[in-house]
Amino acid sequence: MPHQDPAERRVVVTGPPRRTLPHARLRSRGRYLHASGYYRPRTEIDEQTTLGHTYVRSLMRSQLRAGLAVFAVLGLLIGPLPLLFEAMPDAHRLEWAVLGFCLYAPLVLLALWYVRRAERNERDFVRLVEDR
């Protein structure tokens, strides 16, 4: 692939689109369709150019953001509990109920939420890179 001055290319350095509504896909198709004649994100990644790395970074950022968001929810859910139990030393039944039986379902739901988000990020990224 001949090296061009990067300034000539129409490069949009963003993460993969978060929502894949039909019109958004159409728009991206219009934008990315070989505007400069050579533009192929997939090739950039394959050949490990700076631009390719930028794509990978954007994927990493969106995945890290998804992870951190769920982690923050987990922290907010779990973090205050010991303080709460400390503040209510007589609420033994509450402590038994919450710690023994009520936390596992939210953990699974958080996991499902994250997996959906992470897989969507990857699908969007593949679509972006494969120029579809």
């Binding site: 990978v56 779990i78 010991p82």
Partner: protein, 570 residues
């Protein structure tokens, strides 16, 4: 307890394990089969295998025992064991699989290209693995002692022999089948008796004071004190004594002990009347690690709870036997889905131990005094139901407990043996792997004979603390931070993991005595994890020239979906 059913049950579990393992042996042909089951294990089978491997003696016996002795605060253990998988899913699962390495040291080498860091990671894998194997073997010994009165070390020896045989024979492929089988066995072994116990509890008028403090005796009960201990009495206590109390011998005498501390000599029999509150044994005077940890807990309860939460949440991802399982998924997406399935499976399992703990407070409160609280799960069916039914259910629980020791011990042995074979023993190959297996098991077996009386859940908690402060920074920063350098990784693992290790060793040896310093050492995660992360980041930033050359390409491989990569990287 009647052992005529329990012994066949344990024997059956052992035989079934060997048979299922042999089934795997027939299809375990190549080296890749041996280490990672050729990466063809689907999410459902793999999730059952991971859960089966993960639910150790600590989960099966230890949690109920801890809850029985120390109350509902101890329920943070199962919550943390489960949430650890969520954290693993968020930051590690898919990239770890995509890294394409066999073990944690492989990961370290692939990411940082440094044999030194690889060896260090290997040393930590072996250390954490041995620390975690020790309580499994001791739990096995305890179970067999409770069931049959056999000597303490026999159970551990049986587990060691069976595990070495299955692992050395079939490697990862056979272990996968064994583990999946054992998850369902363990769930059944706790669930079925729990249903019967719940019915018995209802027939008993649904007493619910288990949730109140302190536990009381529901009927007259004789307690034999196996290790001398100090009783702490908040109020006066009337008890019938045969043996030595406060240095004076008694023979079947009713004593009225005033409030305060009383020394009960070894072998004394105490007979408590119905309705007496169960006195608490002073943890400072009995030996063993749980007592030191409990002291730390009394001194700074909130600090101890947060330390426990941090250690279990972040430590799971670094447990050698957990990590090696992720390499057996076919691709990153499968690794993620597997993790969600694991969360569901172990979450369902962990609904049961609290039940046993609560029932234990009602029906076996004297275990608080005898120091065998871990046996609560085993004793409850006999105590509450009795007769042949109780014996049969007890046998089922015993079989499940043995499945717990076998599965976790196999996974750990597998991981430790993998490291020993690749990094310590001279040449690679299946034959040396078998030698590594024997070595991996011999050391903790010797340790379990030497260091008696570690309560299983606490000892496992210490392994989590070490793992959280060494492997968690390595994995998280290695996967998400491109400026990590080999010196940074080595320094972070050494200071974080090393200091946690020293704190654990000091606690085990009872070095610091009492005071806040002791609590800091008994629950190291809260300071050692940030220390590990901070050191890793700072040293990496100070050595920017040492960032490995291929970092960008390696991170691309960690994060790119396979459908892009298969054609890209050959």
């Amino acid at each position: 307890m009647n052992s005529s059913y329990a012994v066949p049950a344990v024997a059956l579990v052992v035989v079934a394990t060997v048979l299922v393992g042999a089934f795997g042996l027939r299809i375990s042909r190549t080296t890749s089969d041996f280490y990672v089951a050729s990466r063809t294990v689907g999410p459902r089978l793999n999730a059952a295998a991971i859960s089966g491997e993960y639910l150790s003696a600590a989960s099966f016996l230890g949690i109920a025992g801890l809850v029985l002795v120390q109350g509902p605060d101890m329920l943070w253990y199962p919550v943390g064991y489960t949430a650890g998988y969520l954290v693993l899913l968020l930051f590690v699962a898919a990239p770890l699989r995509r890294s394409g390495a066999y073990t944690l040291p492989d990961f370290a080498e692939a990411r940082l290209g440094s044999p030194g860091v690889r060896r260090l990671a290997g040393a930590f894998v072996v250390g954490v693995g041995w620390l975690y194997l020790l309580p499994q073997l001791q739990g096995a010994g305890l179970t067999l002692t409770v069931l049959t009165g056999a000597p303490d070390s026999l159970g551990g020896l049986i587990v060691a022999v069976v595990v070495v045989a299955t692992v050395a024979a079939g490697g990862m492929r056979s272990i996968t089948f064994v583990q999946a089988f054992q998850y369902w066995l363990k769930l059944t072994a706790l669930l079925v008796p729990a249903l019967f116990l719940a019915v018995a509890w209802q027939g008993d008028g649904s007493p619910s004071h288990a949730f109140e403090e302190p536990a009381t005796f529901r009927e007259q009960r004789v307690v034999r004190v196996d290790d001398s201990l100090d009783l702490k009495l908040a109020g006066p206590l009337t008890v019938t004594v045969t043996g030595t109390v406060d240095g004076r011998a008694h023979d079947d005498q009713r004593l009225r002990l005033p409030a305060g501390t009383h020394h009960i000599a070894k072998g004394t029999r105490l007979s408590f009347a119905k309705g007496t509150a169960v006195p608490s044994a002073d943890p400072g005077t009995t030996d063993g690690i749980s007592t030191s940890l409990a002291t730390g807990r009394q001194e700074l309860p909130l600090y101890a709870t947060y330390g426990l939460i941090l250690a279990t949440f972040l430590g799971t991802m670094g447990l050698p036997h957990v990590v090696v399982r992720f390499y057996t998924s076919p691709h990153g997406v499968a690794a993620r889905r597997t993790t969600v399935a694991v969360l569901g499976l172990i979450g369902a399992f962990y609904l049961l131990p609290p039940l046993y703990g609560a029932l234990g407070r009602l029906y076996t409160p004297e275990l608080v005094l005898t120091g065998d609280a871990d046996a609560a799960v085993l004793l409850l069916p006999d105590r509450m139901i009795g007769g042949v039914g109780g014996d049969l259910l007890g046998a089922l629980v015993a079989g499940g407990a043995f499945a717990a020791f076998l599965s976790t011990a196999s996974g750990l042995t597998m991981a430790v043996a993998g490291v020993l074979t690749q990094d310590v023993l001279p040449s690679r190959g299946v034959r040396h792997f078998r030698l590594g297996t024997v070595l991996a098991m011999a050391v903790p077996l010797a340790g379990s004979v030497l260091v008696a009386g570690l309560p299983v859940a606490d000892a496992v908690g210490l392994a989590f603390a070490v793992s959280a402060s060494s492997f968690c920074p390595l994995l998280v920063l290695g996967i998400w931070w491109r400026r990590l350098t080999p010196p940074g990784a080595a320094a972070g693992m050494l200071t974080g993991g090393g200091s946690a290790f020293v704190a654990v060793a000091a606690t085990m040896a009872d070095v610091p005595g009492t005071g806040p310093v002791h609590a800091l050492l008994a629950w190291p995660a809260l300071w050692s994890v940030p220390l590990g992360f901070l050191t890793m980041v700072l040293v990496s930033l100070a050595t920017p020239s040492r960032v490995p050359a291929g970092t960008e390409a390696i991170l691309a491989r960690f994060h790119l979906p396979e459908e892009l990569r298969t054609e890209v990287k050959t």
